[in-house]
């Protein structure tokens, strides 16, 4: 404080006071008046001094003396007028604002302008465009969305989701303070707990009726916004981040609670995924459910199908190795049999079409039961049709002779039928034996399959249904062929887009070249995926790369 004291020659009368709002108009002339303007900017100047009446001892009236200070020239030579008025009046000035005051006025103007812009923007018809923090995603920008939002009594603008969007300024402030958590609930801001269901989520649920459904043992329903960020620009909404999943899956407490809740629920509750016409490979639910702690794909458990060495329950007998690697397999269209010859991608290229006998097997495995007439083939797909075919074999030969052999004469055709039937009888003994062999002969008991060809088509000789199918007999001895069930989806808790992996050879992931049994599930293990889907591999390894949170439920799917 000491150095702030004024020096001895400091003249406090001439001290500049830039904090004052008004400055004497004469200041620019270097002659500001002593009194200066008042606080409202009015000139208060009158005279250069206010004469003082001095009465000397013995005097009755006294004399007025000039009181002009020395720094303003000292007492003037003329002195005050007889009436006690200063003889030097000051010309009135027009006070000017100080620089500080001008800045204050400018600040007030700018703040007023800001307030005006805010009021116009927030209260006027421009509000939706004015406050919108970013373009809506394509999902929420469609006419369908507007129609659905409107149907729920809201509107097709902001109010469709934000219930307070149409409120006035007072309503907005009220809504802000009524928010949960509100602006003053600081503790909830630092909480690592994701927000629970909120008022705004109710608007989401108007359309997304099953939004909260994940697994039945979820212990706490989260707010939609915990994972989904809207107003991030046009295009699809960004996928939830891995951290969103880790809120629960990396939290031991939450996973333990889920485990306990899951044990109380009936197993049927977990079989909630709608098949939607597809065949799903349903792995048995582990005793503890899917509650292992996960922090990243690195500590993601091994795929259940791989870890538990689950088997394909299909009864069809198929040997991948044989078809891909055996030298006995003939070339197809001039090249060695490859995966793509049977496995055709769907229109989107994401998954593969169902394998069918007609499309994929028939070209090699035609049902040629009569070596002499390879063009005559058994029907496929229905036991009764096959039995009816065999029991009407003379008619079938007659039809074959007329249409395929071009035999038109009645006697000639009858001769043809009799000859063929005689050969069949000679070969099989009876019709019952023929039927038994057709259904029950397999690779061991039936004729040797000669895929390399007994005729120009290169088709295999038909050994019997049991060569590929599981065939049993019913109580009355009728054959029963177990229909093959080939799953369309193997990993039902995730999705896999084959079209994104087209550069990789099938066998790089699916070990088909070493699979001899149908029971082999030739899906790759986690390590195969992690070769690319890892920080080292450089490909995304977030949860949402493979998983979706919201699984549709059967009951909703049926709506």
């Amino acid at each position: 404080m000491k150095e702030q004291l004024p020096s001895p020659d400091f003249n406090r009368y001439q001290y500049e006071r830039p904090n004052q709002n008004w400055i004497c108009g004469h200041a620019a002339e270097g002659k500001p008046c002593r009194i200066g303007p008042d606080s409202k900017g009015h000139c208060r100047a009158t005279y250069e001094c206010q004469p003082a009446l001095k009465v000397k001892p013995g005097e009755t009236k006294g004399r007025y003396e000039c009181t002009r200070p020395a720094e303003y020239g000292g007492p003037c030579s003329q002195g005050p007028l007889p009436g006690g008025t200063c003889c030097r009046p000051i010309t009135k000035c027009v006070p000017v604002r100080s620089l500080r005051s001008k800045r204050k006025v400018l600040t007030i103007c700018v703040v007023a302008f800001t307030a005006a812009v805010l009021l116009i923007g927030l209260c006027g018809p421009f509000r939706p465009g004015f406050v919108n923090p970013g373009r809506l995603s394509s999902q929420h920008s469609t006419a369908t969305f507007a129609k659905m939002a409107g149907a729920h009594g809201g509107g097709d603008t902001c109010v469709a989701c934000h219930g307070n969007a149409d409120a006035g300024p007072h309503g907005l402030v009220k809504a802000a303070f009524n928010a949960t958590p509100g602006p003053l609930q600081v503790r909830s801001l630092v909480s690592s707990q994701p927000p629970a269901m909120n008022a705004i989520d109710e608007n989401c649920e108007h359309c997304h009726v099953a939004h909260s459904f994940h697994e039945p043992n979820v212990v706490r329903a989260l707010s939609c916004s915990a994972c989904h960020r809207e107003h991030q620009g046009s295009g699809l909404m960004p996928k939830p981040a891995t951290a969103n999943c880790l809120f629960c899956h990396a939290n031991a407490e939450v996973m333990q609670a889920s485990l306990e809740l899951g044990k109380k629920l009936p197993a049927a509750d977990f079989d909630f995924r709608p098949a939607q016409g597809r065949v799903l490979f349903k792995a048995p639910r582990p005793e503890n459910g899917y509650t292992e702690l996960i922090h990243s794909f690195a500590d993601h458990p091994e795929f259940q199908v791989f870890a538990e060495k689950l088997k394909d329950p299909d009864t069809l007998k198929f040997n991948h190795q044989l078809h891909l690697a055996s030298p006995n397999i003939p070339q197809l269209n001039g090249h060695k049999l490859a995966c793509a010859d049977c496995h055709k991608p769907d229109a989107a290229g994401v998954y593969y079409l169902k394998i069918s006998y007609e499309e994929n097997c028939k070209v090699c495995h035609s049902l040629q039961f009569d070596l002499e007439n390879p063009g005559l083939r058994l029907p496929h797909g229905n036991v009764e049709h096959v039995r009816a075919f065999l029991r009407s074999l003379p008619e079938q030969y007659a039809d074959f002779g007329a249409k395929q052999k071009g035999i038109t004469g009645g006697a000639e055709l009858q001769q043809f039928v009799q000859t063929q039937m005689a050969q069949i009888r000679e070969h099989y003994g009876s019709g019952e034996e023929l039927e038994r062999r057709v259904f029950f002969s397999d690779a061991h008991t039936g004729p040797v399959t000669q895929v390399a060809g007994t005729d120009a088509t290169g088709a295999a000789r038909f050994p019997g249904c049991a060569y590929c199918h599981e065939v049993t007999s019913s109580a009355n001895g009728a054959p029963l062929v177990t229909a093959p069930v080939i799953p369309d989806r193997w990993l039902i808790r995730g999705q896999f887009d084959h079209s994104k992996h087209f550069k990789i050879a099938c066998t790089q992931c699916h070990d088909a070249e070493h699979s001899r049994e149908t029971a082999d599930v030739i899906l790759p293990g986690k390590a195969t995926c992690a070769e690319c889907h890892s920080p080292r591999g450089g490909v995304a390894s977030s949860c949402s790369t493979c998983h979706t949170f919201h699984s549709a439920r059967k009951d909703f799917a049926e709506r």
């Binding site: 500049e16 830039p18 904090n19 400055i23 200041a27 620019a28 002339e29 270097g30 500001p32 620089l99 001008k102 800045r103 600040t107 700018v110 703040v111 302008f113 800001t114 805010l118 923007g121 465009g129 004015f130 406050v131 919108n132 923090p133 970013g134 373009r135 934000h162 219930g163 307070n164 409120a167 309503g171 907005l172 402030v173 809504a175 802000a176 303070f177 928010a179 949960t180 958590p181 509100g182 602006p183 600081v186 909830s188 801001l189 630092v190 909480s191 690592s192 994701p194 927000p195 909120n198 705004i200 989520d201 707010s223 916004s225 915990a226 107003h231 981040a241 891995t242 951290a243 880790l246």
Partner: protein, 274 residues
């Protein structure tokens, strides 16, 4: 008293440490603390309020609230820190939408004007010291008037002394405009001496037509021209020191108002959701 250099180093170190801490905390908490943007927003708003309090603090100097110098240092380095907080708050992405764009623009303008103020408050005093002289900004108009009076007196005296109006005419033709008010402010800011040299050249040209007495008068006038030029130099540079606040302060209050509206909108529209 802590030296200026020491203050600067302490401030810089605290700023760097604070920035590293903020960025690290953001990276660590991103995705873990769901309402991280709310949290960073409140911290940013609190720091902005503390920075704004520097202005009223100067008006309530009677309260023992640290020295103004300490407040200035806090203002500078906490102001820089808001830049980091701002980046963290917007998650290193420029906002979209009118409202948020204006809010971000206001912040950036306040920040830029602050940087400019810091620059001029450091650079201008050095330039003024180099030029020499010391004058209060508020007294410059009075001093300018005194100089004008002295030049006019010299010009009139010369008429009486040599019975010639050469200097008086020259004053009216070349110098009156120069002495009438503040001149060449932009040239002074850029250290351009051409206007002064032009006037001095004109004076030198006139000297050829003057006698010794007039030449002595003219020398005095040239000295006053240099003084007036120096006065204009001070005015120009000191004006910049004061004028940057005409941008910084109004925009600051505008930013605060807009921020309040932002807070209300965020909570009103989210209903407390993320």
């Amino acid at each position: 008293m802590i030296s200026f250099n020491k203050q600067r180093w302490v401030g810089l170190v605290l700023f760097v440490l604070g920035s590293v801490l903020i960025v690290w905390l953001h990276a660590k908490c991103f995705g873990v603390v769901p309402k991280l943007a709310y949290l960073s927003g409140w911290v940013l708003f609190a720091v902005m309020l503390a920075l704004t309090f520097y202005n009223p603090r100067k008006k309530i100097s009677f309260l023992p609230l640290l020295s103004s110098e300490a407040w200035l240092q806090f203002h500078i380095y906490a102001g820089l820190l808001t830049g980091v907080l701002f980046l963290v708050h917007i998650n290193y992405k420029l906002p979209t939408g009118w409202f948020d764009d204006i809010l971000a623009s206001l912040y950036i303008l306040v920040m830029i004007s602050g940087f400019f103020g810091l620059f001029v408050s450091r650079a201008v005093p050095k330039r003024l010291t180099t030029r020499g002289g010391e004058v209060l900004f508020e007294r410059i108009p009075g001093i300018r008037r005194q100089l004008q009076d002295r030049v006019e007196t010299l010009a009139l005296q010369s008429v009486d002394q040599v019975k010639s109006s050469t200097i008086a005419d020259f004053y009216v033709r070349e110098l009156k405009y120069f002495f009438d008010g503040k001149r060449n402010l932009i040239a002074h800011w850029f250290e351009v001496r051409a206007p002064l040299n032009l006037l001095l050249n004109n004076i030198a040209d006139l000297n050829r037509y003057l006698n010794d007495s007039e030449r002595a008068t003219m020398d005095e006038i040239a000295t006053l021209v240099r003084q007036k030029d120096g006065l204009d130099y001070h005015y120009s540079l000191q004006l910049v020191i004061k004028l940057w606040l005409f941008v910084h302060i109004p925009l600051t209050y505008s930013l605060l108002l807009w921020t309040l509206a932002h807070i209300v909108l965020v909570f009103a529209f989210s209903g407390g959701a993320r």
